[in-house]
Symmetry: C2
Subunit: 118 residues, 2 copies
């Protein structure tokens, strides 16, 4: 892991809440949760925002400690930091994801392009 991540105990509640309080980022987290365990690369989220803007939002999520990004080749494999978040803020991620899944106003990943399996 080359990219900067906070340690679990550096993760801050107000920062996590503020970072999740954005529809684009909430949609990313909702999608990561729905594919839990499967690392995603950034291009998966290109229907939510431009490449540059996505880079910005994904950096926010990573710097807040919500996601982990690992550089593999030219890709970044992105995963939810569920263990760390659950340890720091028990129940929070689950309730956010459950609520996000009910939210009809949130953008959804994977509705523009069809899924492309390797």
């Amino acid at each position: 892991m080359t990219l900067p991540h906070p340690t679990a105990d550096q993760i801050s509640l107000p920062i996590v809440l503020a970072v999740l309080g954005d529809p684009t980022r909430l949609a990313i987290v909702r999608y990561l949760a729905s594919k839990e365990g499967v690392p995603m690369n950034c291009s998966k989220f290109l229907d939510l925002a431009s490449k540059t803007n996505l880079s910005y939002h994904l950096a926010k999520l990573r710097e807040a400690g919500v996601t982990r990004a690992e550089a593999v080749g030219t890709s970044r494999l992105i995963t939810l930091r569920r263990d760390d978040l659950d340890r720091r803020f028990p129940g929070l991620l689950d309730s956010v994801i459950a609520a996000a899944s009910e939210d009809k106003a949130l953008p959804v990943v994977g509705t523009v392009d069809a899924e492309i399996d390797s």
Copy 2:
């Protein structure tokens, strides 16, 4: 109730998260939760911010549907909208409050002035 409040189904997840993603507002919610059932007036929170700024933050909380404010005389009696929030986002408020209670970096209400009972 004269002041504008969203109905329960108008409460939006990203807006609630964004509103809670501010240390001053999180401190207010944490305190309201700790005195649940007891309506608070705004002056209770004067050690967190100026009167004007407090008015702003309390309006944000109210407009997001996190709190309810009732005008009684010249006071506003403020309560948490726990029922509505629990119905819309099960488990969210509890996990946020539990995490906020552990957060040593959050400002705390009632440490500057001693409690003044009527």
